[in-house]
Protein backbone atom coordinates (compact mmCIF):
# COMPACT_ATOMS: atom_id res chain seq x y z
CA UNK A 1 0.00 0.00 0.00
CA UNK A 2 2.98 2.26 -0.41
CA UNK A 3 1.51 4.36 -3.19
CA UNK A 4 -1.57 5.24 -1.15
CA UNK A 5 0.56 6.28 1.81
CA UNK A 6 2.78 8.47 -0.34
CA UNK A 7 -0.14 10.03 -2.15
CA UNK A 8 -2.05 10.63 1.07
CA UNK A 9 0.94 12.42 2.59
CA UNK A 10 1.22 14.59 -0.51
CA UNK A 11 -2.49 15.43 -0.48
CA UNK A 12 -2.33 16.35 3.19
CA UNK A 13 0.46 18.80 2.39
CA UNK A 14 -1.21 20.22 -0.69
CA UNK A 15 -4.74 20.54 0.68
CA UNK A 16 -3.42 22.27 3.81
CA UNK A 17 -3.24 25.47 1.79
CA UNK A 18 -6.95 25.30 0.98
CA UNK A 19 -8.80 26.47 4.08
CA UNK A 20 -12.18 25.27 2.82
CA UNK A 21 -11.05 21.66 2.46
CA UNK A 22 -9.33 18.96 4.47
CA UNK A 23 -7.99 15.45 3.98
CA UNK A 24 -8.96 12.37 5.93
CA UNK A 25 -6.63 9.44 6.37
CA UNK A 26 -9.67 7.14 6.63
CA UNK A 27 -10.90 5.07 3.75
CA UNK A 28 -14.17 6.21 2.14
CA UNK A 29 -16.18 3.43 3.69
CA UNK A 30 -19.94 3.46 4.06
CA UNK A 31 -21.19 4.46 7.50
CA UNK A 32 -24.90 4.18 8.21
CA UNK A 33 -25.65 3.71 4.53
CA UNK A 34 -23.81 6.82 3.45
CA UNK A 35 -20.25 6.98 2.15
CA UNK A 36 -18.00 9.05 4.38
CA UNK A 37 -17.09 11.49 1.62
CA UNK A 38 -20.75 12.39 1.24
CA UNK A 39 -21.36 12.47 4.95
CA UNK A 40 -18.33 14.71 5.48
CA UNK A 41 -18.37 17.06 2.57
CA UNK A 42 -15.31 19.11 1.65
CA UNK A 43 -13.12 16.32 2.98
CA UNK A 44 -10.89 14.42 0.58
CA UNK A 45 -10.85 10.64 0.98
CA UNK A 46 -8.40 8.31 -0.65
CA UNK A 47 -9.51 4.76 -1.39
CA UNK A 48 -7.40 1.59 -1.27
CA UNK A 49 -5.10 1.01 -4.20
CA UNK A 50 -5.82 -1.71 -6.72
CA UNK A 51 -2.96 -3.45 -8.53
CA UNK A 52 -3.40 -5.16 -11.87
CA UNK A 53 -0.37 -7.14 -13.02
CA UNK A 54 -0.16 -8.40 -16.57
CA UNK A 55 2.46 -9.50 -19.06
CA UNK A 56 4.13 -6.62 -20.87
CA UNK A 57 6.65 -8.59 -22.90
CA UNK A 58 6.32 -12.34 -23.28
CA UNK A 59 9.52 -14.13 -24.21
CA UNK A 60 10.13 -17.63 -25.50
CA UNK A 61 12.48 -18.48 -22.62
CA UNK A 62 9.97 -17.38 -19.99
CA UNK A 63 11.91 -14.28 -18.97
CA UNK A 64 8.65 -12.38 -19.17
CA UNK A 65 8.45 -8.75 -18.13
CA UNK A 66 5.34 -7.66 -16.26
CA UNK A 67 3.60 -4.35 -16.06
CA UNK A 68 1.64 -3.18 -13.05
CA UNK A 69 -1.21 -0.74 -13.27
CA UNK A 70 -2.01 0.73 -9.87
CA UNK A 71 -5.32 2.52 -9.49
CA UNK A 72 -6.28 4.74 -6.56
CA UNK A 73 -9.43 6.84 -6.34
CA UNK A 74 -9.85 10.04 -4.39
CA UNK A 75 -13.28 11.40 -3.50
CA UNK A 76 -14.50 14.75 -2.34
CA UNK A 77 -18.05 16.07 -2.22
CA UNK A 78 -19.35 19.63 -2.04
CA UNK A 79 -22.73 21.27 -1.68
CA UNK A 80 -24.00 21.94 -5.20
CA UNK A 81 -26.00 24.94 -4.02
CA UNK A 82 -23.01 26.53 -2.35
CA UNK A 83 -19.88 25.38 -4.12
CA UNK A 84 -16.75 26.49 -2.27
CA UNK A 85 -14.72 29.07 -4.19
CA UNK A 86 -11.52 27.03 -3.87
CA UNK A 87 -13.02 23.91 -5.45
CA UNK A 88 -11.57 24.19 -8.94
CA UNK A 89 -8.04 25.03 -7.89
CA UNK A 90 -8.15 22.35 -5.16
CA UNK A 91 -9.17 19.75 -7.76
CA UNK A 92 -6.31 20.81 -9.99
CA UNK A 93 -3.96 20.40 -7.05
CA UNK A 94 -5.33 16.90 -6.38
CA UNK A 95 -4.65 15.92 -9.97
CA UNK A 96 -1.17 17.46 -9.92
CA UNK A 97 -0.32 15.42 -6.81
CA UNK A 98 0.14 12.37 -9.04
CA UNK A 99 3.72 13.42 -9.74
CA UNK A 100 4.72 12.48 -6.20
CA UNK A 101 4.72 8.82 -7.22
CA UNK A 102 8.04 8.02 -8.89
CA UNK A 103 9.60 6.33 -10.70
CA UNK A 104 6.73 5.28 -12.91
CA UNK A 105 6.30 4.96 -16.66
CA UNK A 106 3.02 6.82 -16.65
CA UNK A 107 0.95 8.74 -14.11
CA UNK A 108 -2.55 9.87 -15.03
CA UNK A 109 -5.27 11.51 -12.99
CA UNK A 110 -8.78 11.57 -14.44
CA UNK A 111 -11.41 13.78 -12.86
CA UNK A 112 -15.07 12.81 -13.08
CA UNK A 113 -18.06 14.59 -11.66
CA UNK A 114 -21.32 13.14 -10.45
CA UNK A 115 -24.31 14.97 -9.02
CA UNK A 116 -26.35 13.16 -6.38
CA UNK A 117 -29.35 15.23 -5.30
CA UNK A 118 -27.83 18.52 -4.17
CA UNK A 119 -24.30 17.15 -3.76
CA UNK A 120 -21.53 17.20 -6.31
CA UNK A 121 -19.14 14.27 -5.95
CA UNK A 122 -15.76 14.67 -7.56
CA UNK A 123 -13.69 11.57 -8.02
CA UNK A 124 -10.13 11.55 -9.24
CA UNK A 125 -8.79 8.26 -10.53
CA UNK A 126 -5.03 7.99 -10.35
CA UNK A 127 -3.41 5.42 -12.64
CA UNK A 128 0.26 4.58 -12.23
CA UNK A 129 2.03 2.32 -14.69
CA UNK A 130 5.23 0.55 -13.69
CA UNK A 131 7.26 -2.05 -15.57
Amino acid sequence: MAYRDTLLAKLQTVIASYSQFSVSSELPFVAGGTPLHIKNMKTVYLDEQQDEISGFIITLDKRDIDQTVTTIRAYVAVDAKNKPSQTDSMLSAIQAARTVIAPVVGADATLTTEIQDDIIVYSVEYRFLTI
Partner: protein, 159 residues
Amino acid sequence: MATINVSAGNEAVLVLAQSSANANFTANAGLVVPSMQDITINNSTGVFRWKTLDSTAENAATTPATNQLSLNVVVDTAAFFGTGTAGDDDVKEKGLFTVSKEKTAVYFRAYFDGTNSNSKYLSGVGYISGLAPTVNPDAPLWVTPVTIEVDGDYTVGTV
Protein backbone atom coordinates in the same frame (compact mmCIF):
# COMPACT_ATOMS: atom_id res chain seq x y z
CA MET B 1 3.24 -37.00 -36.56
CA ALA B 2 3.56 -34.45 -33.84
CA THR B 3 3.27 -30.72 -33.52
CA ILE B 4 6.01 -28.64 -31.94
CA ASN B 5 4.54 -26.65 -29.11
CA VAL B 6 6.95 -24.25 -27.44
CA SER B 7 4.51 -23.49 -24.64
CA ALA B 8 4.62 -27.06 -23.45
CA GLY B 9 7.85 -26.85 -21.46
CA ASN B 10 10.52 -26.73 -24.12
CA GLU B 11 11.21 -23.63 -26.09
CA ALA B 12 12.81 -22.34 -29.24
CA VAL B 13 16.50 -21.80 -28.53
CA LEU B 14 19.06 -19.98 -30.64
CA VAL B 15 22.77 -20.43 -29.99
CA LEU B 16 25.37 -18.22 -31.70
CA ALA B 17 29.07 -18.97 -31.57
CA GLN B 18 32.41 -18.51 -33.25
CA SER B 19 32.56 -22.14 -34.33
CA SER B 20 30.21 -24.90 -35.25
CA ALA B 21 31.26 -26.93 -32.21
CA ASN B 22 30.55 -24.05 -29.82
CA ALA B 23 27.12 -23.49 -31.39
CA ASN B 24 26.13 -26.86 -30.00
CA PHE B 25 24.10 -26.11 -26.88
CA THR B 26 25.63 -28.98 -24.98
CA ALA B 27 29.08 -27.46 -25.44
CA ASN B 28 27.89 -24.71 -23.11
CA ALA B 29 30.15 -22.23 -24.86
CA GLY B 30 28.17 -20.12 -27.29
CA LEU B 31 25.75 -17.28 -26.70
CA VAL B 32 22.25 -18.56 -25.97
CA VAL B 33 20.22 -15.58 -27.13
CA PRO B 34 18.08 -14.57 -24.14
CA SER B 35 14.60 -13.03 -24.04
CA MET B 36 13.58 -13.78 -27.61
CA GLN B 37 10.11 -12.52 -28.35
CA ASP B 38 9.83 -14.35 -31.64
CA ILE B 39 11.99 -16.02 -34.25
CA THR B 40 11.38 -16.62 -37.93
CA ILE B 41 13.49 -18.90 -40.07
CA ASN B 42 13.33 -18.07 -43.75
CA ASN B 43 14.24 -20.43 -46.56
CA SER B 44 12.96 -18.45 -49.49
CA THR B 45 13.80 -19.91 -52.84
CA GLY B 46 13.68 -17.84 -55.98
CA VAL B 47 11.51 -19.00 -58.86
CA PHE B 48 12.32 -18.98 -62.55
CA ARG B 49 9.23 -19.22 -64.75
CA TRP B 50 8.90 -19.76 -68.44
CA LYS B 51 6.11 -20.28 -70.93
CA THR B 52 5.92 -22.54 -73.95
CA LEU B 53 3.57 -22.37 -76.90
CA ASP B 54 2.35 -25.90 -76.38
CA SER B 55 1.32 -25.43 -72.75
CA THR B 56 -1.62 -23.65 -71.17
CA ALA B 57 0.29 -22.96 -67.96
CA GLU B 58 3.66 -21.63 -66.94
CA ASN B 59 6.52 -23.89 -66.05
CA ALA B 60 8.60 -23.19 -62.97
CA ALA B 61 11.89 -24.10 -61.43
CA THR B 62 13.29 -22.94 -58.15
CA THR B 63 16.57 -21.10 -57.89
CA PRO B 64 18.95 -20.94 -54.91
CA ALA B 65 17.32 -19.86 -51.67
CA THR B 66 17.82 -16.77 -49.60
CA ASN B 67 18.26 -18.04 -46.07
CA GLN B 68 17.72 -15.76 -43.14
CA LEU B 69 16.86 -15.88 -39.45
CA SER B 70 15.00 -12.93 -38.03
CA LEU B 71 14.08 -12.43 -34.42
CA ASN B 72 13.12 -9.79 -31.91
CA VAL B 73 14.75 -9.70 -28.51
CA VAL B 74 14.66 -7.66 -25.35
CA VAL B 75 18.14 -6.16 -25.05
CA ASP B 76 20.18 -7.98 -22.44
CA THR B 77 23.37 -6.16 -21.48
CA ALA B 78 25.64 -9.20 -21.56
CA ALA B 79 24.17 -10.57 -24.78
CA PHE B 80 24.17 -7.25 -26.59
CA PHE B 81 27.47 -5.78 -25.41
CA GLY B 82 29.27 -8.98 -24.51
CA THR B 83 30.67 -10.43 -21.33
CA GLY B 84 34.08 -8.90 -22.00
CA THR B 85 35.59 -12.03 -20.53
CA ALA B 86 38.67 -13.21 -22.37
CA GLY B 87 38.42 -16.91 -22.97
CA ASP B 88 34.68 -16.85 -23.63
CA ASP B 89 33.49 -17.76 -27.08
CA ASP B 90 34.03 -14.67 -29.29
CA VAL B 91 30.32 -14.07 -29.82
CA LYS B 92 29.68 -14.31 -26.10
CA GLU B 93 32.66 -12.11 -25.26
CA LYS B 94 31.91 -9.37 -27.79
CA GLY B 95 28.14 -9.47 -27.87
CA LEU B 96 25.67 -9.06 -30.72
CA PHE B 97 26.49 -5.42 -31.40
CA THR B 98 30.25 -5.78 -31.78
CA VAL B 99 29.94 -8.97 -33.81
CA SER B 100 27.58 -7.13 -36.15
CA LYS B 101 29.85 -4.08 -36.28
CA GLU B 102 32.93 -6.17 -37.01
CA LYS B 103 31.04 -8.19 -39.64
CA THR B 104 32.27 -11.44 -38.16
CA ALA B 105 30.72 -14.69 -39.32
CA VAL B 106 28.77 -16.53 -36.65
CA TYR B 107 27.73 -20.14 -36.46
CA PHE B 108 24.20 -20.76 -35.29
CA ARG B 109 21.92 -23.53 -34.18
CA ALA B 110 18.20 -22.87 -33.97
CA TYR B 111 16.54 -25.53 -31.86
CA PHE B 112 12.84 -25.96 -32.55
CA ASP B 113 11.76 -27.76 -29.41
CA GLY B 114 14.30 -27.18 -26.68
CA THR B 115 17.66 -28.85 -26.45
CA ASN B 116 16.64 -32.23 -25.16
CA SER B 117 17.26 -35.36 -27.18
CA ASN B 118 15.26 -35.81 -30.37
CA SER B 119 14.72 -32.06 -30.75
CA LYS B 120 15.29 -30.89 -34.29
CA TYR B 121 17.53 -27.99 -35.14
CA LEU B 122 18.80 -26.04 -38.12
CA SER B 123 22.41 -24.96 -38.18
CA GLY B 124 24.58 -22.88 -40.44
CA VAL B 125 26.78 -19.85 -40.62
CA GLY B 126 25.86 -16.25 -41.28
CA TYR B 127 26.27 -12.62 -40.42
CA ILE B 128 24.40 -10.58 -37.86
CA SER B 129 22.64 -7.54 -39.27
CA GLY B 130 19.52 -5.47 -38.84
CA LEU B 131 20.15 -4.41 -35.25
CA ALA B 132 17.91 -1.48 -34.43
CA PRO B 133 17.52 -1.09 -30.67
CA THR B 134 14.59 1.08 -29.77
CA VAL B 135 12.93 2.39 -26.65
CA ASN B 136 10.23 4.95 -25.89
CA PRO B 137 8.40 6.27 -22.83
CA ASP B 138 5.45 3.93 -23.30
CA ALA B 139 7.65 0.88 -23.83
CA PRO B 140 10.65 1.70 -21.65
CA LEU B 141 12.58 -1.48 -22.35
CA TRP B 142 15.13 -1.65 -25.10
CA VAL B 143 14.10 -4.15 -27.74
CA THR B 144 15.80 -4.84 -31.03
CA PRO B 145 15.27 -6.87 -34.16
CA VAL B 146 18.16 -9.14 -35.11
CA THR B 147 18.68 -10.63 -38.53
CA ILE B 148 21.15 -13.37 -39.37
CA GLU B 149 21.90 -13.38 -43.07
CA VAL B 150 22.80 -16.99 -43.70
CA ASP B 151 25.84 -17.67 -45.85
CA GLY B 152 25.00 -20.88 -47.69
CA ASP B 153 22.61 -23.63 -46.76
CA TYR B 154 20.98 -24.86 -43.58
CA THR B 155 21.84 -28.23 -42.14
CA VAL B 156 19.07 -30.16 -40.44
CA GLY B 157 20.09 -31.99 -37.30
CA THR B 158 18.66 -33.87 -34.36
CA VAL B 159 19.87 -33.58 -30.79
